[in-house]
């Protein structure tokens, strides 16, 4: 009866017979909720941390990927230009070869003339030998 009367007045006793304004169940639920909330907040914090590192990693990967991409593009361009470079190099080499060929031709002509002269001189010597 007394409890009821107290309850009507909004007062309750808990197990430890301490006077309470809230009903013991509610109080219990509240404190449970509080616990739960705390857990939740903790979890959320953890989650955020995990997500943060994840983002960081992804970002790193992204820059890496970007770099690689640029590299790939560069390499592709380089590849393209190498063909051109080759061509110009080839052209240069060809010009040098033509030059050397001309040089060779000059030397060949000189050689020919020297050989001819040698044979003329040999003829001459032979002629001298024969006449004596």
């Amino acid at each position: 009866m007394a409890d009821e009367a107290l309850a009507k007045a909004g007062l309750h006793f808990d197990e430890l017979n301490k006077i309470r304004v809230l009903e013991p169940e509610v109080a219990q639920q509240t404190s449970e909720l509080k616990e739960d909330c705390k857990d939740f907040v903790e979890k959320i914090g953890d989650f955020q941390k995990i997500v943060g590192t994840f983002i960081e990693v992804v970002d790193n990967v992204a820059t890496e990927v970007e770099k690689e991409k640029m590299k790939a593009i560069g390499a592709r361009n380089l590849l393209k230009s190498i063909a051109k470079q080759r061509e110009s190099h080839q052209q240069q080499l060809r010009a040098l070869i033509t030059e050397k060929k001309m040089q060779l031709e000059r030397l060949r002509i000189q050689h020919d003339s020297l050989v001819k002269e040698e044979s003329e001189q040999n003829d001459f010597i032979e002629q001298l030998i024969l006449q004596k």
Binding site: A95, L96, M102, D112, L114, E117, E120, Q131
Partner: protein, 743 residues
């Protein structure tokens, strides 16, 4: 130094170092002209101070160049004008006005003409206001660059048709290159005019003066926009499109002489190879090698500070001496010494490194001498004057003094090339000259008393060379190689000239080969595309020369009999006649079937007096004036008079007779005979004048003549064969083949 912000330079040119005007070498040489896109040119001193800024053209100034003597500056601009400025930057004249930009301009050798580009045309314009310009089409594309060398007087042009061309000043094309891959953006002559460099995109080419290419280099520099040579012609600097300045050294110059081959294989190293035994000698130098010459058993190397003289017997210990000025432009060798030319003068050194002399004349410009305009032999140096190209100064190589009366040899026409023979006695030194018409003349260097005579040897001679061991002369004409086995023949017997000449078709050596040297029995030629070829002549000629120089006439005759060659006999005839060796001359003339000359020589042999014989020899050589001079000198008045009578030189005969008061009647008698024979009347005033006073009595004349011959026989100086019959010794006109030339 920094330039103003709106100034973008297009070109620069240093004031010429050796400006003859003024004499005092003040800071005048320390200025350069800088042309820029803002239409101005600036004169900037060595310290970097802008001395003057001149508003010159509308639009950019594309090119500016000092005249070779430093008195004027020419600029060309995008507005198509070519302007001449004074040394201090005052406008003197506007030379021309074109509708197209003038990309390049170049001075002529004497600073009296300017060459500039006008689109596809090259224009050569004298500075005089009314003079007509010479124009010719120089390219299929726009011409970007021209350069005119003062030493060899050749022009190079190059441009957007990717070719470079070499021209002479008449606008004749000497060389046209193959098309390059890119337009040619620069071209520049070496100071000595032996080579030029051509620059294009990633391309640097070194070419010979005749156009063919020595070497090609493909530096990774972009287009080479400008090229400039060092004053010694061994290094070239180029301004390239990617902002770099490239500097190139000329290496791999190769010289050959007999069994030696010298190659400059680095800028400070020469390798000498002896082909006979394949030995290699490596010669290292402290400084850059500037000039190398290999001849007459000696290798002369001029570096930028010293001169090294090596003997081919000893490559280890050269003679070394210091040079006053670094830039040696020319070395020419003779057997005993060599001549070295630098900007300051001409110096003769002996092979042991001693300065023998340094020849000099008023107004000499040593820096533009080249192999064609200077020649050296063991005792003589000949230099063609630049201001008056008809003059040739001849110096004694021992003293450096101008020979004779101090006057230069004067030729009829402008002289293009001079060459001295290398052998024989000093008194008989001969100078071969090629003049503007490409005629080859020969003259003696030392003349005593008599007037200098120059004899024409041949027309259209492109190049010539004396032999280094004997006095043979070789020349190139159109499609033919000519060798004069004995050029003295022209002084002896012109009829023999063609038979002592050696012809050879030069078709096997390609189009217009160039004669480089005549060493021993070998002629060394350069084909127009650059290859060296050699060909030989008969070795007997040299042997014959050798015998004759040693007066071994019997050996010479024996040699000719062995070879049985008419040209050899002709040479011997000319040589013997020149040396007045009558017996040999008789044999030689007989061998080439010149009966009249044999007979004439036989007559000469019968003359008792030596001088008279000499005079008759002079007649045989076609020199009646000399003959007369010899006779008069010896006091043989009668013979001199008879000589003139027989030449039908009546005036002179009478003059001599009257002057010496003898034989006037003899002259009159012969004159009457002559008039009778040709059925003519006396119309000569002087004869008419003397006719009355003198009686012609043939008996008296005959006896007088007989007396003269008697007197001759009794002369103590006779010293020779005297014959019994004097009538035989009397020369008759019929036996005088050369006399007819005069009459």
């Amino acid at each position: 130094m920094t330039l103003p912000k709106d100034c973008f330079p297009t070109g620069m040119h240093w004031f010429p170092k050796t400006s003859t005007g003024g004499g005092a070498k003040k800071s005048a040489s320390d200025v350069f002209v800088l042309t820029s896109t803002d239409g101005k040119f600036r004169l900037i001193s060595r310290t970097g101070r802008i001395e003057k800024t001149v508003e010159a053209h509308k639009g950019a100034v594309l090119c500016g160049q000092w005249s070779p003597d430093g008195t004027a500056l020419v600029t060309a601009g995008e507005d198509g004008q070519v302007k001449i400025w004074s040394r201090s930057g005052m406008l003197r004249s506007t030379l021309t006005q074109n509708s197209l930009p003038v990309y390049s301009v170049s001075w002529g050798p004497d600073a009296d003409q300017v060459l500039f580009t006008n689109g596809k045309q090259l224009v050569l314009k004298p500075l005089q206001a009314n003079a007509k310009p010479t124009m010719w089409k120089g390219s299929d594309g726009i011409i970007l660059v021209v350069d005119w060398n003062p030493v060899n007087n050749l022009i190079i042009s190059a441009g957007e048709d990717c070719r470079y061309r070499v021209w002479d000043t008449y606008g004749r094309m000497i060389y046209n290159s193959a098309a390059h891959d890119y337009p040619i953006t620069s071209a520049s002559w070496t100071p000595d005019g032996e080579m030029f460099a051509v620059g294009s995109f990633n391309t640097l080419r070194l070419c010979d003066r005749s156009g063919w290419s020595y070497a090609l280099e493909k530096p990774n520099t972009g287009s080479i926009f400008s090229l400039a040579w060092s004053s010694d012609g061994t290094q070239v600097a180029g301004a390239s499109g990617n902002g770099q300045v490239l500097i190139a050294n000329v290496i791999e110059r190769r010289l050959e002489w007999k069994n030696f081959e010298a190659t400059v294989n680095a800028s400070k190293q020469i390798i000498v190879k002896n082909v006979m035994n394949d030995t290699l000698e490596k010669l290292d130098f402290r400084d850059r090698i500037v000039k190398v010459s290999l001849s007459f058993n000696h290798l002369v190397v001029a570096t930028s500070s010293q001169c090294y003289v090596y003997s081919s017997r000893n490559w280890n210990t050269p003679m070394i001496f210091d040079l006053k000025e670094g830039s040696v432009t020319l070395i020419k060798q003779a057997e005993k010494h060599f001549v070295m030319v630098d900007g300051g003068g001409v110096y003769v050194y002996s092979y042991d490194g001693r300065l023998v002399c340094s020849p000099r004349y008023q107004g000499m410009k040593a820096d533009i001498l080249n192999t064609q305009t200077i020649s050296i032999s063991n005792d003589t140096i000949a230099i063609r004057d630049k201001t008056d190209e008809k003059l040739i100064y001849v110096f004694d190589a021992q003293t450096g003094k101008i020979m004779g009366d101090g006057k230069p040899i004067s030729h009829k026409l402008e002289v293009m090339e001079v060459a001295l023979d290398q052998c024989g006695p000093t008194g008989e030194r001969r100078l071969a000259i090629i003049d503007k018409n490409r005629d080859l003349h020969m003259t003696s260097v030392r003349v005593f008393g008599a007037e200098r005579k120059s004899v024409k040897l041949g027309p259209m001679i492109h190049s010539m060379a004396w032999n280094d061991e004997t006095n043979m002369l070789a020349g190139m004409t159109d499609g033919k190689i000519l060798v004069w086995y004995y050029p003295n023949t022209v002084y002896v017997d012109k009829d023999l000239l063609t038979s002592t000449q050696y012809h050879r078709d030069s078709a096997e050596f390609g189009k217009s080969p160039q004669l480089l040297a005549f060493v021993g029995n070998h002629l060394i030629l350069r084909r127009s595309e650059g290859s060296l070829v050699s060909t030989s002549i008969s070795p007997y000629i040299a042997v014959l020369h050798d015998y004759v120089n040693g007066s071994r006439w019997e050996d010479a005759v024996r040699l000719c009999r062995f070879v049985k060659d008419d040209s050899l006999w002709s040479c011997l005839a000319a040589m013997a006649a020149y040396s007045k060796d009558l017996n040999t001359a008789e044999v030689a003339y007989a061998a080439i079937k010149e009966v009249n000359k044999v007979q004439f020589i036989m007559n000469i042999k019968d003359i008792p007096v030596k001088e008279a014989r000499n005079a008759e020899m002079a007649l045989l050589c076609g020199n009646p004036l000399d003959a007369e001079a010899i006779l008069l000198q010896a006091g043989l008045i009668f013979r001199a008079i008879m000589l003139n009578i027989q030449l039908y030189n009546w005036d002179r005969a009478l003059e001599l007779a009257v002057k010496h008061k003898t034989h006037v009647d003899t002259v009159m008698g012969y004159r009457l005979k002559y008039l009778d024979r040709f059925d003519k009347k006396e119309n000569n005033k002087r004869y008419l004048q003397y006719k009355d006073g003198i009686e012609v009595d043939w008996e008296k004349i005959e006896s007088k003549i007989e007396m003269e011959y008697q007197k001759e026989r009794e002369r103590p100086s006779g010293g020779g064969s005297t014959t019994a019959s004097s009538t035989n010794s009397r020369p008759t006109p019929s036996s005088r083949p050369t006399a007819s030339q005069r009459s």
